[in-house]
């Protein structure tokens, strides 16, 4: 069975043509994540977490190396092909929710379906909204929802096209600890139901809840393993 994600010698270098300001944000990463895994990516600020996230999310192309998503090399796709991959095979959950303010919860959830022309978008969106327990808030605007509810809507939106992997960037960063806890539980439930989950976070409490933790430093993988092993050996000040 092919891996969900397979990175080989992945590099992302900004301003490579100007050596004095060039930044090696991702500097040779080899990483394999299998279907159904739940992986936390941790590391200090500037370690390349965000850049890796953008590469994994097909928002950006690597400078070098290869990225196989479910066996397909997506590192050299053109803009439209990348858009299609983002639409169908990747779900995004952001720290700041990124919902459209003028669209109701249901419409926000249905938005990805608008770009993939499926039948009955409203019905599908409603089903996913039900799964995150917010069907009674379907007609509300984001401004009428609490932070936790907004993040649930965002999670529903990321799931609506049944993606293979779910990428969450600090999903609890804008929430209080109790609400954050609920969001983590929801993400773990989704993972238990088969969705591959990758969470980028500073929050070690969150990272501990996942089965595998990858620690980055200076654009490279510094440690990779179960949380008790990786986080125990973490040097002070990693958070």
């Amino acid at each position: 069975m092919t891996a969900a994600i397979q990175l080989e010698g992945l590099e992302k270098i900004y301003h490579e043509d100007q050596p004095n300001i060039a930044v090696r944000a991702v500097n040779g990463i080899d990483l394999t994540i299998n279907h159904g895994e739940a992986v936390a990516i941790v590391g200090p600020s500037g370690c390349g977490k965000s850049t890796l996230m953008q590469l994994l999310g097909c928002l950006d192309r690597p400078t070098r190396g290869s990225y196989r998503l479910e066996g397909q090399n997506v590192s050299r796709l053109d803009d439209d092909e990348l858009a299609h991959v983002r639409n169908r095979r990747i779900g995004f959950v952001f720290q700041s929710f990124n919902l459209l303010a003028r669209y109701s919860a249901l419409e926000n959830v249905a938005l990805p379906l608008m770009y993939s022309s499926v039948d009955n978008p409203a019905q599908r969106a409603r089903a996913v909204l039900e799964r995150v327990g917010l069907v009674n808030r379907a007609g509300h605007l984001p401004s009428e929802l609490s932070g936790g509810q907004k993040q649930r809507v965002a999670i529903a939106r990321s799931l609506v096209n049944q993606p293979a992997i779910l990428l969450a960037d600090e999903p609890t960063g804008a929430l209080d600890s109790r609400t954050g806890e609920e969001i983590i539980q929801l993400l773990l439930e989704l993972n238990a139901a088969g969705t591959t989950l990758i969470v980028v976070t500073h929050d070690l409490a969150l990272a501990r809840k996942l089965k595998r933790v990858v620690r980055l430093r200076d654009g490279k993988v510094e440690a990779d393993g179960p949380p008790e092993q990786v986080l125990a050996e973490a040097p002070a000040g990693v958070q």
Partner: protein
């Protein structure tokens, strides 16, 4: 994304910022409105003038004296056209009748009422050629003309001004201090330039000898038997008049012969130029409206950078984003065009009612205004839309 969904998205964005959308649209409304109003007024005036000229009939030729030319200096009208010329033209084959006439301005008085009018000396043929009908009384008789009688037929407007509420027939008016008996009043012809409604007709000989002491005529109106022979007849008249005026071959004619068709062409050319000029001026405001759209769309793209980033992250292609913003611009512009069309037509209609001229909304003006507003939307919307579609999704998502 389907075109229907894109349209819905655009409408949503526009409705969520109603005031801004309306103000943006206003530029196009004013631009298209101005162009349509100018075209409609121009066409209305043209149709009016043409109707007037056409009422003369297409079987009519008009001879007018040319202008005296001394070196580079242009003098007044030459005085070489005579009644005898008209009689000679009448002898030519293919001529139905000839109506020589002389025109001058004078004061007409009745008691304390005073009107300045164009006094035209005419023969009985004039009434037939010009298709003039008397409402009261009768046209001049041959006897009245030959006898140099002091009789007059009033145009309807002149009669109304001189005799408000009283019967003009058989009354006496004073023209240049001389007493004239009114033997007829013309039926009104309606608005128009040099309308017979504003004229006073007197017998030609009376005009020449008694009133103004001149022996020349200012117009010769000729009705031909067969309008298909108009061009040939024109050439024959020209030859005859040239030989009568003893013009050498190298000399220019001292008269002009024009047919209704010629006059129509000239008038069409002049009003067409005027209309085009006014419409071009109005089009400048359309240009300003277009720049307004571009301006607002650029602001809108910047404001919604994050939204663009979100849409791209969840699968919008660059083409989807481009189309979304382009359609927004086109909807604003096209809607502005439709409203402007209504506003312009309304203005032209109101003005034509006030001024009493004709109202014509030419189909080409409708097509032009809608086409131009569509083109304005696309033309001025494409740059903002392109800049939106070229955003880097990573940068756009980071935008605050």
């Amino acid at each position: 994304m389907s075109i229907f969904e894109t349209l819905r998205t655009a409408m949503r964005a526009l409705l969520s910022n109603k005031m801004r959308s309306v103000l943006t649209m206003l530029g196009v409304v004013i631009g298209v409105g101005a162009v349509v109003a100018m075209l409609a007024l121009g066409e209305g005036t043209k149709a009016d003038i043409e109707k007037n000229i056409r009422s003369l009939g297409s079987d009519v030729l008009t001879v007018r004296p040319g202008q005296a030319q001394m070196g580079q200096v242009r003098g007044g009208n030459v005085e070489t056209l005579k009644v005898e010329d008209a009689e000679a033209v009448g002898e030519l084959p293919g001529i139905l009748q000839v109506a020589p006439s002389a025109q001058a301005s004078a004061q007409i008085k009745f008691l304390s009422n005073n009107v300045s009018a164009s006094v035209v000396g005419v023969t009985p043929e004039y009434f037939e050629v010009q298709k003039l009908v008397t409402q009261y009384g009768a046209p001049f008789s041959e006897t009245q003309v030959r006898g140099r009688r002091r009789v007059a037929v009033l145009g309807s407007n002149v009669a109304m001004k001189l005799f408000p509420g009283s019967e003009p027939l058989n009354q006496r008016v004073k023209i240049r201090g001389l007493s004239f008996q009114i033997v007829g009043v013309l039926a009104g012809k309606g608005e128009g330039f040099s309308s017979p409604d504003d004229q006073v007709l007197v017998p030609l000989l009376t005009h020449q000898t008694v009133l103004f002491g001149r022996d020349y005529i200012t117009t010769m109106t000729i009705q031909v038997e067969n309008e298909n022979d108009l061009d040939n007849t024109k050439l024959e008249i020209e030859g005859l008049l040239r030989s009568r005026h003893r013009l050498r071959p190298e000399e220019a004619s001292d008269f002009n012969i024009s047919s209704t068709k010629d006059v129509l062409a000239t008038v069409g050319q002049i009003t067409g130029m005027l209309t085009a000029f006014l419409a071009a001026l109005a089009a400048i405001s359309l240009l300003v409206g277009g720049i307004g759209i571009m301006n607002i769309m650029l602001v809108s793209v910047r404001e919604r950078t994050r939204e663009i980033g979100i849409r791209m992250a969840i699968g919008a292609r660059r083409g989807d984003v481009l189309l979304q913003f382009l359609i927004e611009a086109v909807v604003v512009s096209l809607l502005g065009g439709v409203i402007g069309l209504g506003v312009g037509a309304g203005i032209a209609f109101t003005l034509s009612k006030v001024a009493g001229t004709g109202f014509v909304l030419p189909l080409y003006a409708v097509a032009l205004s809608l086409g131009v507003s569509l083109a304005t939307g696309v033309g001025f919307g494409v740059w903002p839309a392109r800049s939106a579609s070229r955003l880097d999704p990573v940068e756009a998502l980071r935008y605050e």
